[in-house]
């Protein structure tokens, strides 16, 4: 059998690639020696950053989880009026990059430049990362266990806690992990909110001292936090499997009739959407209309738009390709090696773009100087940063293509390649598509990595927006923000549709042989 070993080699290669930034940080930390390390690590500044980062992390993860699960439940399980519309509106904040959202709030009121403000803005930006997977999981959930729980005398509330929520936990945990990793890596939004975390502090260090030791030590602490988060999620997920037992198409749960509660629920949804979309969009409209610095330099706008789309397409292709062997290993070759490869690729996602970028700069200058400040190096940075998004989606879709179908196909005379093309690929294509959409979204709004690694003269919407908004030219930044949102809409729409698409396939239940 040649495929597993090929997959393992490819997966290991991808993991090694994604671990280069981490490797650089570890190497640089070791190189500086224990004395200097101690001096740089044990100081009030680090304590303050640690407090900020951890409290922000906990606050946003809790808030996004509660909001994401509650919103998904209302949309999927109740008869709230205009459900399809609410679903689109609830997924839409994905199309507003966090730093654009932050710009919307900050240019409106400086009151958000606090801990509460940071939790608010980051939560409003990132809750769809929990909402979307939970919607998908809720729609796929068979209702029979709930019926059983109700018949055993459980209230609907207790049924939700004891029967529904546990089966949603892989989706909830996966979403919460993504939120956590995003918070650790977030730079633009928090910089505008003037809420210092490790990531913004590292940016400051690198700006003042290129690749100084202080920044490397901060990056080391950040990486440690990321690893802790991954471990926590792993422990929480445990070894449980939530496979459906039995067979047949199953039946979806009855929707809860809201009745007299409908107006209150509608009001809550309306209020929430006003916060997530209303505020940033109104703020943007305001600056577009009345901002004194607003101008529409068509040439610069279209060149930034063109290079943004081109970079995002190329980066998405590379990232998706690299995600395939990793996801394949994680699903089809479960085991310590596969787990190591998969988790290895997650680590880079918690590194701020600038750490990845500078590590790649440092390594490329030492190992392959001609790569420095070239397109391939930038694409590698994108792949390292956004691989987990592609892996998570591809992995989920691979679960829909059980190995039994491969066996059947092989017995029908098809080669491994033909089986992949005719069975596995069609079954995983939707997942690959949604993974690609997530990556496209991320790359088209990526800021710090692009700032440092883009070939000289290459500007993107994000970098142009940043140059203007960070120098408080809110009006000049507005057209770029608008374009950033427009570029993100198709991918967001695709994702929102993906989550609610009725499964046209009845998942075959595979029993262990």
């Amino acid at each position: 059998m040649s495929r597993p070993s090929a997959a393992l080699v490819a997966g290991a290669a991808v993991a090694v690639l994604t671990l280069i930034p981490l490797g650089y940080i570890v190497w640089a930390t070791v190189e500086m020696g224990p004395g200097e390390l101690h001096d740089l690590l044990i100081r009030p500044r680090v304590g303050e950053l640690l407090g900020n980062t951890v409290t922000l992390l906990v606050g946003t993860v809790v808030a996004t989880t509660v909001i994401g699960v509650a919103a998904a439940f209302v949309v999927v399980r109740t008869d709230v009026p205009f459900r399809p519309l609410w679903h689109v509106l609830l997924a839409a904040p994905l199309a507003v990059p966090a730093f654009v959202n932050s710009y919307g709030w900050v240019s409106l009121t400086h009151a958000v430049q606090s801990y509460q403000g940071a939790v608010l803005v980051v939560t409003l930006s990132y809750y769809p990362l929990v909402y979307l997977p939970v919607v998908a999981a809720l729609m796929g959930l068979e209702a029979a266990p709930e019926d059983v729980a109700r018949s055993l005398g459980r209230s609907s509330w207790r049924t939700f806690w004891t029967v529904v929520l546990p089966r949603l936990s892989p989706a909830v945990l996966g979403g919460a992990l993504l939120v956590g990793l995003h918070v650790l890596a977030e730079f633009g939004a928090l910089q505008l909110l003037a809420f210092p975390t490790f990531t913004t502090a590292i940016y400051g260090q690198y700006r003042s001292a290129f690749a100084g030791d202080a920044g490397t030590v901060l990056a080391g602490v950040l990486v440690t936090l990321c690893v802790l988060l991954l471990t926590l999620e792993l422990l929480a997920r445990g070894r449980r499997r939530y496979a459906r037992v039995g067979r047949g198409a199953g039946h979806p749960a009855e929707r809860i009739v809201l009745g007299r509660r409908a107006p209150a629920v509608l009001l809550a949804l309306l209020g929430f959407v006003t916060l997530t979309l209303g505020v940033p969009l109104a703020s943007l409209a305001h600056w577009l209309a009345v901002g004194s610095s607003t101008e529409f330099p068509m040439g610069e706008l279209s060149s930034a738009l063109g290079s943004t789309v081109a970079l995002a397409l190329a980066g998405t292709a590379v990232t998706t390709l690299l995600a395939l062997p990793v996801a394949w290993l994680a699903v089809r070759r479960r085991g310590p090696a596969a787990m190591l490869v998969e988790r290895g690729t997650y680590v880079a996602n918690a590194l701020p773009g600038i750490v990845v970028a500078l590590a790649l700069v440092a390594v490329s200058i030492r190992a392959v100087p001609p790569l420095y400040q070239t397109l391939p190096l930038l694409l590698v940075a994108y792949a390292i940063l956004f691989l987990p998004r592609a892996v998570v989606s591809v992995k989920a879709s691979l679960e829909n293509a059980p190995p039994l179908l491969d066996d059947v196909s092989r017995s029908l005379g098809q080669s491994a390649w033909s089986t992949f093309r005719r069975v596995t690929l069609p079954l995983v294509a939707p997942g690959i598509g949604s993974g690609a959409a997530l990556v496209f979204l991320a790359i088209s709004t990526e800021l710090t990595g692009t700032l440092l690694l883009a070939p000289i003269g290459t500007t993107t919407l994000a970098t142009e927006f940043w140059n203007n908004s960070s120098s408080v030219q809110y009006g000049a930044a507005a057209p770029y923000a608008l374009l950033l949102i427009l570029v993100s809409i198709p991918a967001t729409f695709l994702l929102a549709r993906q989550a609610t698409r009725k499964p046209t396939v009845a998942e075959p239940v595979v029993l262990a042989a």
């Binding site: 067979r247 066996d407 059947v408 092989r410 017995s411 029908l412 005379g413 069975v423 079954l427 396939v505």
Partner: protein, 342 residues
């Protein structure tokens, strides 16, 4: 179609042996069922024949062509075996027509071949555009069979093909599948844990226990002359009594029984439930009714003999006894005896 010869096949997962030097011959155009409890190794045997799993030792020959031994391993797609797994495992993204024609080369995916396969599998042509989740369990099973038969395989392997169906459907689906297989003159290997299925569908039954075949024989031989008491209990059920046999006759709590084949000394006797007749109390061996399972046409009565031995009777359900009744029992005909080395 062609025959399948399995010789000395062994397989272990780690230290745990799953198959221990298994031999089996499936004649051309016949149906053999491999019967065993779950975990006895029967599915592993099937997967080795199909080529999904490598064996540790032994060989598999299909139609005179060696496909598996320690040095040879023909890939599954070159073995020409049709495989019907549990639940059918239809390709969920393809409709019925595309599922059935999946294994054929592009040029052979014709309307006429599809019609032919639908007819063989007794499926309505109106189903061709449906997707697997729009089919009933029985329909899915027949589509899976049609898909396996379409490329004209040398042998068809069925892994617990009816376990996902409800009891009533299982019997009719079993009959239909057997009819389709016979119509296609297929050589077939069916793995099952259901003795009714194994006995009614196959020409030959191979009873497997702990990675070994304990008996390979015709269905009637397996039932009438089981290889050992455990096989008898697994296939058909019954009461096992320990007794001393002298001159072909055993004195037991259930009376004097004629033992065949003739064994002497310590023996274990198998009394089939249909051999036990319940009569009025008084004349024959007395017994107390401890449980009555009513099945409509039939009734199974659990009895306790005076010395505490439990015995089971099965018969027509006219005037069944009630729990607690004192009755008499008579064992009709001879019972199978198995010598015990004391």
């Amino acid at each position: 179609m062609s025959d399948v010869a399995i010789k000395g096949l062994s397989k272990a997962y780690g230290p745990q042996p799953v198959l221990r030097a298994v031999d089996l011959y499936v004649p051309d155009g016949s149906i053999t069922s491999v019967l065993g409890a779950s975990g006895c190794g029967k599915t592993t045997l099937l997967r080795i024949v199909a080529g999904f799993v490598r064996s540790d030792a032994g060989s598999v020959t299909i139609g005179g062509r060696l496909v598996e031994d320690p040095v040879t391993c023909v890939a599954p797609q070159h073995r020409g075996v049709g495989y019907v797994p549990q639940e059918g495992a239809l390709f969920p993204h393809l409709d019925v027509a595309a599922n059935i024609l999946y294994g054929l080369p592009r040029r052979a995916r014709t309307k006429s071949r599809l019609t032919e396969m639908l007819e063989i599998a007794e499926l309505s042509p109106s189903l061709t555009g449906r997707y697997p989740h729009e089919l009933s369990g029985g329909q899915q099973q027949r589509v899976a069979l049609a898909r396996a038969l379409a490329p004209a395989p040398t042998v068809v392997l069925l892994d617990e093909p009816f376990s996902s169906l409800d009891a009533r459907l299982r019997v009719s689906a079993g009959r239909e599948v057997a009819r389709v297989l016979r119509h296609a003159e297929a050589t077939a290997l069916i793995v099952t844990h259901d003795q009714g299925e194994a006995l009614s569908l196959a020409d030959q039954v191979a009873v497997m226990r702990e990675g070994r075949f304990v008996q390979v024989a015709s269905p009637s031989d397996v039932y009438d002359a089981p290889a050992d008491p455990a096989t008898a209990e697994f296939v058909g059920g019954g009461t096992v009594l320990d007794a001393e046999v002298r001159g072909g006759v055993a004195k037991t709590a259930a009376g004097e029984l004629v033992v065949e084949p003739a064994v002497e000394g310590h023996a274990r006797l198998v009394v089939r439930p249909e051999q036990v007749e319940i009569v009025a109390a008084g004349e024959e061996t007395p017994a107390t009714v401890s449980e009555v399972d009513y099945y409509g046409a039939q009734v199974v009565v659990h009895l306790e003999l005076r010395d505490g031995t439990a015995i089971m009777a099965r018969g027509p359900a006219s005037r069944p006894p009630s729990v607690g009744d004192l009755v008499g029992v008579v064992v009709q005909g001879s019972v199978r005896g198995y010598g015990v080395d004391a």
